[in-house]
Symmetry: C2
Subunit: 330 residues, 2 copies
């Protein structure tokens, strides 16, 4: 297998790279070569096979052709300008999230004109393709009605993925990831940052800020689950997908109160006491338009699996990010 990861330097890209190396094969075929690309040079992984790391902007001329010049069998397209930046910088969002994706699809189609070439392409879409009014539990037939430029770009990419797949130019599968919790790293300016930091910081004895009420409900999966979705998407038979090539991933619908209760069970009262309540109306209003729960039956029927409790999500974080060092319970 020759595998290309676009967006390899990000949190998911780096974890995916490691997971592919550990797994060593896709559907029984050994991973022999990896091409890792991102807007900044991805770190070279510890991999015995051929590996190439590239600083590359997919939206620039000839870059897509360069990235697929070794005709990878499997392509992960994770690269994107995130929601807030795509909203603030309209041109950059469309250039990367739409032109970049189109350039990749076109490079693949044109490579197939020379000799047959139909790589599996795993695309990370987003729940931002859905916009209010939304039902409390969103089904698999919910319409694409994005309310942001980012959501629009992801919805358009889903439509393109379906049409290029229907025409046989690529074998595409789009996966709509839940909000990832617990994200490793530091708090950032994303409105969703607190969903991770109210657990992540207390687990290492630091304070965290909670800007919304405990009744706020959202849709979650761990980074480990996200990687399992990507690997599963790389391996499944796509013929049952039909024209609906993008799938809402399973996840866990939980309130902030559920998160805190799980933190208490896993790490004790002392950890919970590190959560400082600082209501922020602006953050609360943004979050209010976000989806609360999905049925995701289609994804489950296709074999995608997420955590079923926040206790599990916290344990995954302790195992994967804290070298299994469970904080002492008080």
């Amino acid at each position: 297998m020759n595998i290309l990861i676009i967006g390899a330097a990000g949190m998911i890209g780096r974890k995916l790279t490691r997971a592919l190396i550990e797994k060593g094969e896709i559907n029984g075929k050994p991973v022999e070569r990896m091409v890792l690309a991102d807007i900044m040079q991805p770190p070279a992984p510890d991999f015995p096979g051929a590996v190439e790391t590239l600083e590359a902007d997919l939206s620039q001329p000839d870059i897509a052709e360069r990235l697929i010049s070794s005709r990878p069998d499997l392509i992960f397209h994770l690269a994107a300008i995130v929601s807030g930046e795509a909203e603030a910088n309209f041109e950059k969002g469309y250039r990367v999230n739409l032109d970049g994706t189109l350039s990749l699809f076109e490079a693949i189609r044109k490579a197939g004109l020379e000799q047959p070439y139909t790589p599996r392409l795993v695309f990370t879409s987003s729940l931002a393709v859905f916009g209010s009014p939304l039902p409390d539990v969103i089904g698999d037939t919910q319409c694409l009605t994005p309310l942001t430029s980012y959501g629009t770009q992801k919805a358009i990419s889903e439509l393109l993925l379906a049409d290029y797949s229907r025409k046989g130019f690529l074998d595409g599968i789009g996966i709509r990831l839940p909000t990832i919790s617990i994200r490793p790293g530091k708090p950032n300016k994303a409105a969703s940052s607190f969903f991770s930091s109210i657990l992540r910081e207390p687990l290492i004895g630091e304070e965290a800020v909670l800007p919304v009420s405990e009744s706020v409900r959202h849709w979650f999966a761990s980074p480990r689950a996200a990687i399992s979705f990507l690997l599963h998407a790389a391996e499944i038979d796509t013929s049952p997908l039909g024209q609906q090539r993008s799938i809402t991933m399973p996840g866990l619908s939980a309130t902030v109160g559920d998160q805190i209760a799980a933190l208490r069970r896993v790490a004790g009262d002392a950890a919970v006491k590190l959560i400082r309540r600082e209501p922020n109306a602006a953050v609360a209003e943004i979050i209010d338009g976000w989806p609360r729960s999905f049925s995701a039956q289609r994804g489950e029927a296709l074999g995608f699996k997420a955590e079923s409790s926040f206790d599990d999500i916290i344990r995954v974080h302790i195992e994967d990010e804290l070298e299994n060092a469970v904080p002492e319970r008080v």
Copy 2:
């Protein structure tokens, strides 16, 4: 008013040009200037104001900038590669129906960076944004699930129209036209051609071929109704549209049997006898996936109006295309 029509040489474009000249104003503002563009030079209309006719391919560099250089107040974007050709010629379909539309939107946005510019943009979308499985009567909240490249390109254009409008770069409205019947002219190779020819040819004493059964049901409006939709879309207050900028137009749900019964009432048995039944399984199969009926309540509430009987549609054709010469009844 300075008005730009892109796709001005087609059947709808020519009728729209004439209708705008006859009407003479938009929301009370006189039509002073028209820019008429198409892939082939549009005919120069009989118009006392300033008029410019341009042979221009919107998908080529700098053409969109050229077309909006006079900063038109109102733009009709009718230009498209039709369904069958977009399916047969993938590159051409995307170049014209996606790149062309994006070029236009981008030229408008960039013109607005220099000094404020938010033209009304009326875009003709298509029922091809909907794909089976479809309910018998399709509501206004039906999802965009196109099954063709043409439908994909139109669905993407609808998403772009909504996002560019939300950001205030243009004041967009997309209208999904019913199948136009009775189209003037000659039969063509479109699968839908017979929906017009089984009425049009008998009305001038010529034979027509019916390739499907009389029970086939579809969604129709006359060319005159289509023009009224375009003019109404140019004039209405778009603020109630919210983020849903594209609207299914009202129409008439009728079977082929309904069409024939209306022909008998308007033009007599002799006309009906000119319809020759030649079942064609390929045509029947294509038509089978098409929508049969819409509720179109949103379009009606916004003041769009279509015919309510095929008798009316036939009379419109006799008035507008046959100089009111009703064929002699036998």
